[in-house]
Symmetry: C2
Subunit: 363 residues, 2 copies
């Protein structure tokens, strides 16, 4: 029933939802081929419409050799309400890919489809881990000092103190697995660093985090600017603020790139300067390239589920597969289970998960 | 009792809290002198410790000629709890400056001090406008298309739907007064643009905004990246998310400037390119210069109250005074009163404001 205590699998079979993302199956298949070059031990079970997926697969013989394509005509669109996807999408490529993880056929699912539907289905099929009330979405941000992990990015619009504490715990293990940081520093996102700031949930979470032993160190409150400054290794917040921060960061990076381009193109000197500095500017672009940071993980589920940005390309999708690979290779889920047992004592999940309960929490 | 229905004053007397801000009175006085060059009709009542303020004032004879310095040794520190400032700071420079607006001696107060204390005192002394439940903090952001107004930036950590609707109304009048946009488009910040997204408060606010006549047009939901993309003229959100978005934007702009500098300094070609493009890059820096966007307005009070960033310099503080000037010149507060009367019918404020009620809401 649970993946938590299983040892990491020796071969890495990844279930792919080939029908998610703006660019659909072409991007997914090309991304899978790229990831295979980087991680030659990967193999795939690919779910999607055979008539649409097969032609792309045929372009990559090495990929085709390690992939099993399972046909389904049904898929979840980006506009579908998560509760509806959960009720009516039982034959969808997304759902079947998640089922493959639950059945132990694959160690991870990667999808570029509808985030809410993916979360609802993953929560219903894979279940949350014992000791975790709500899964959270985490990803890696570039910072002035390196990289940091931010969560929750949109799975939970409202969070109580205990949810935030669980996010801190999962986030620091994620940070260790993906960024290799031992004893990550953890910051709680707030509107000021003074002790009195913030609403009740945040202040109570801070009080708990100061007391409880953690797989990291609690730094205290951080503010929005601390994310990119690299003040801490893990930034913990609710899904509403986290999603807005994530997209505000993306928007600002685009704005800065836009005005840089405008400035350089606005005069002859700027154009000449660009010719010289082009290589440097490309390196800079690479460092902030959102494709490098593609692949958000749903933490707290009994199975590894990675969400790729819908609007990414093959490079971005390959990176999302890379995140799934690293999490499995570092026995990420097993370690969360071990930490939870260490902090809370061994406990079975006492959540009775039904379609109705998941649908009620999600939409 | 109320400034709402008074005509705009012909002379513009501004009350300054000379003791706020990291750099204190030197920055405030130099900023006031700079603003006076830009708006020669300004005059000031300056509140602060005479022994500390007078030497700075003496350096600017033109400023000294239009300023009245009123001595008080008491001031509010940046660490003071707002409720404590409210109870014990009755003789502080911040409080006396606000009192001057309430007494009709000045048309606006500008302070670089403790935001929470300034809001608590301003709310207690000036009162909220009839029809407005909670004041909000608004400021102007640069965007790819020009500029936009964002509110609330931290006055209200939790907001109900009606608060958000009132922010939309005040924000669009602010946008008109400060940016000159007639019929601004208004977006409600959310984690997706689909109708079903977001928590109850946001969805209810959207439903009301779709129906109610506004001094602008309701665009619908926007996401974090839309702020800097310039998708709408006014972005409305609660104070927690707004503050985090504001600071995430600041942090990202710093991050981008940092990696740009690193990239250019990292190679000879980059350094040569920089020599050519220097002028352009300085223009770019100017466009995103946070000092240009300094001066956050407390909307919804019976008096104009502008908060300057504590860490700004004279240029930034002069811009904050400029915001106060523009709001008074455009009869901003009177127009909010007129709009409220138009939408809700003429009503007197039914809030009984006591120190206890304000302190309870603020800390």
């Amino acid at each position: 029933m649970t993946n938590v205590l299983k040892p990491a699998l020796t071969s890495t079979v990844i279930a792919l939802d080939a029908m998610g993302g703006d660019d659909g199956s072409a991007m997914v298949i090309a991304g899978a081929a790229l990831a295979l070059e980087r991680y030659p031990k990967l193999s795939y079970i690919i779910f999607g419409d055979e008539a649409r997926v097969r032609p792309h697969l045929d372009r990559f013989p090495a990929l085709a050799a390690v992939s099993e394509l399972r046909h389904t005509a049904d898929f979840v669109s980006s506009e579908t309400r998560p509760s509806l996807a959960l009720r009516q999408g039982r034959k969808s490529s997304m759902r079947l890919a998640i089922n493959a993880v639950a059945a132990g056929e694959a160690v991870s699912v990667v999808s570029a489809g509808n985030t809410g539907a993916l979360m609802a289905m993953a929560k219903f099929v894979l279940k949350t881990m014992p000791g975790i009330d709500r899964p959270a979405i985490a990803t890696v941000f570039p910072t002035q000092k390196g990289e940091c992990v931010v969560l929750d990015l949109g799975a939970n619009l409202e969070c109580d103190a205990e949810n935030l504490v669980q996010f801190a715990l999962m986030g620091s293990i994620f940070c260790n697995a993906v960024l290799g940081v031992s004893q990550p520093s953890i910051g709680l996102l707030n509107i000021g660093v003074e002790e009195m700031k913030g609403h009740d949930e945040v202040r109570t979470a801070a009080a708990i985090l100061r007391e409880r032993p953690l797989p990291g160190t609690f730094h205290g409150y951080v503010e929005g600017n601390d994310i990119m400054a690299g003040t801490v290794d893990v930034v913990v917040t609710d899904g509403f603020s986290g999603n807005i921060a994530l997209k505000a960061v993306e928007g600002t990076a685009k704005f800065m790139a836009h005005i840089l381009k405008q400035s350089l193109q606005g005069s002859l000197w700027g154009k000449i300067g660009y010719l010289f500095a082009r290589g440097c500017l490309q390196k800079m672009r690479l460092r902030a390239d959102p494709r490098r940071y593609n692949g958000a993980m749903f933490l707290g589920l009994q199975g590894v589920c990675v969400k790729s940005h819908g609007g990414t390309d093959q490079e971005g999708f390959a990176n999302a597969i890379g995140v799934a690979h690293d999490l499995v290779a570092h026995r990420f889920n097993e370690r969360i289970g071990e930490e939870l047992a260490r902090h809370y004592g061994a406990a079975e999940s006492d959540h009775v998960v039904t379609i109705e309960s998941v649908a009620g929490e999600i939409d």
